[in-house]
Assembly symmetry: C2
Amino acid sequence: MLKKNFLMSPGPSKVPESVMLEMAQPVFHHRTPQYQEIFADVTAKLKQVFRTKNDVFVFTSSGTGAMEASVTSFLSAGDTVLTIDMGKFSQRFDLIAKAYGINTKKIDVEWGKAVDPSVVEAALAEDPSIKAVYSTLTETSTGVVVDLKALGAVVAKTSAILVADAISGLGADKIETDEWGVDVVVAGSQKALMLPPGLAFMSVSEKAYQLAENSSIPAFYFDLSRSKKALDKNDTPFTPAITLVIGLQKSLDMILSEGMEEVWARHEKLAVATRAAVKAIGLSILSDSPSNAVSAVQFPEGVDGGKFAKIIRDEKGVTMAGGQDHLKGKIFRIAHMGYCNQYDMVVGLAAVEEVLYELNFKFDKGAALKAFQETYLS
Amino acid sequence: MLKKNFLMSPGPSKVPESVMLEMAQPVFHHRTPQYQEIFADVTAKLKQVFRTKNDVFVFTSSGTGAMEASVTSFLSAGDTVLTIDMGKFSQRFDLIAKAYGINTKKIDVEWGKAVDPSVVEAALAEDPSIKAVYSTLTETSTGVVVDLKALGAVVAKTSAILVADAISGLGADKIETDEWGVDVVVAGSQKALMLPPGLAFMSVSEKAYQLAENSSIPAFYFDLSRSKKALDKNDTPFTPAITLVIGLQKSLDMILSEGMEEVWARHEKLAVATRAAVKAIGLSILSDSPSNAVSAVQFPEGVDGGKFAKIIRDEKGVTMAGGQDHLKGKIFRIAHMGYCNQYDMVVGLAAVEEVLYELNFKFDKGAALKAFQETYLS
């Protein structure tokens, strides 16, 4: 068959053709009124997507750069923070904090589950010196969404700040940054914001700014005060990835003209139908708190996960993601984030069925597609 | 008149249309053999442009990110380094080092001049504890090129490493990283490498790796050992700016098929003719060690630099750069870097003449263009 390429991985994710072509326009200089107007528009629109009145910073980096900024901007070596290991990315906060000489109290959660807010509450009660709590909104490695609203309520009662990695969640799983009291939200361009990788974002609350005043971790490229001084003049301290910012303006326009509630509802509808689809052919979902951005699907008994990943990508042209660390070979992750509608999911599910069939897994052919339609259309 | 936009600033600089369109191709995943093959090819080609057998790292950041890495990767707080202030960008090394608790001995050089290697030699002799010398290859703010070959010879005799910011120089002003003994070379995508901003590069010599072993400055996003571990597997530790890497492959192909010697010769020919052109209408060059990447041209008596900059950009559509800090309003900087040939320079010079004419500066109309042609064609 003619092979077409479909990107269904949880980052990088599909970028609208119109955004790609917008970014192919001739480059222009960033120290110009023309660019500043675009940048002001982009930061204003980012706030609408973040659901915040707080400052939102734009970094030229991968999402990890902003995660680093969310550690180094607010803390000092010797401080204590609470981290949660519920997957590859929440774990990363712990690694970053340790790299900067910060003491971490780590809550270990079985991968596939979300942290219980009461456990966080107890940990905070036990150690009032905890300066910050680090969590993911969406744990991309397991397809888990965390109850940030509950975490926000718990953390708000303390002097600690709540920092959330919403890199793959923002624009897919609901977040109400201000209403829920999430002090720092980190995001990236290559997920539900429908752009290629290269930009990262960080929102900062007043409570977080106050904590930042006592921070003594050195920084330059990600330095908060340098970034803040520039942002107040509608600028970045260093040359931004101009083409990506141009593209971002267009993708934010698309998101906001659809409307945040509608965007969240679309993701939920696709996620629910996708989960019903894979269950209908005997597969199961890893997460017991499933995200609307990405589904982590457990391979059934007897199916070689490594072979599945290779065949679906190299032979079928459909890129999904496998499992990381101890989940390698045990799950595949199908994204329903960003520039994605029901027809994309039908393609992905058709490919899943086809590869499982070729791997001699016994199931009712077409049952996944049928279940998707039944769920989606009801 | 119909306004067309010409980008003649020393970064961002013009990107070939074919590169822009290459980057507009559908995004694909970076943890794939398809991407790894491209990344291996890109790093191999970068080495040819850097003229080095050393590792060349690719960061998703502005050039300043790699400058930061060139400080934090090799040093510890309390170390002493030699910095040189000969412009905005060489100065930045001093700021970065201080931000990380490093003692700096700073050589102040009048902006527009290049550091005298014998001054560096004397400073190194006076303080054998100096661990590193930081210089620019091309000081973008003044259009100065530094004699890195001579600096390399001086530093090689000591235990210090030589670190060069070649962000705007690489691919325009000649550099022989290995032959000249430049231990660490930092570069960026948006200058003579003919790409939009968003990628930065750093080459690391064996001597620099040895120094890095004792470094105790914490790092995560720019952490050298993490980057090295990934590079050895043909990878980056964090999601790269995929589209820019795709574009880089194409722009490096263009550069290498022209040939490095030919690329340098082209830049020299354009720079020499541009300098002759502006001199022919009574303007002067700031630098007494002029770069082939960018010319810093002093405004003649009575011409309002601020007005010039605004008119040439907003009315004529030709973007050049002004002066920074105390050079603001005193110079304009015209780039002849990257995707640039004689016809681009003729456009830029025609616009310079036109705006000077409108600002009532008296000169022999067309003399700049004539001098350009006379010099270029001889």
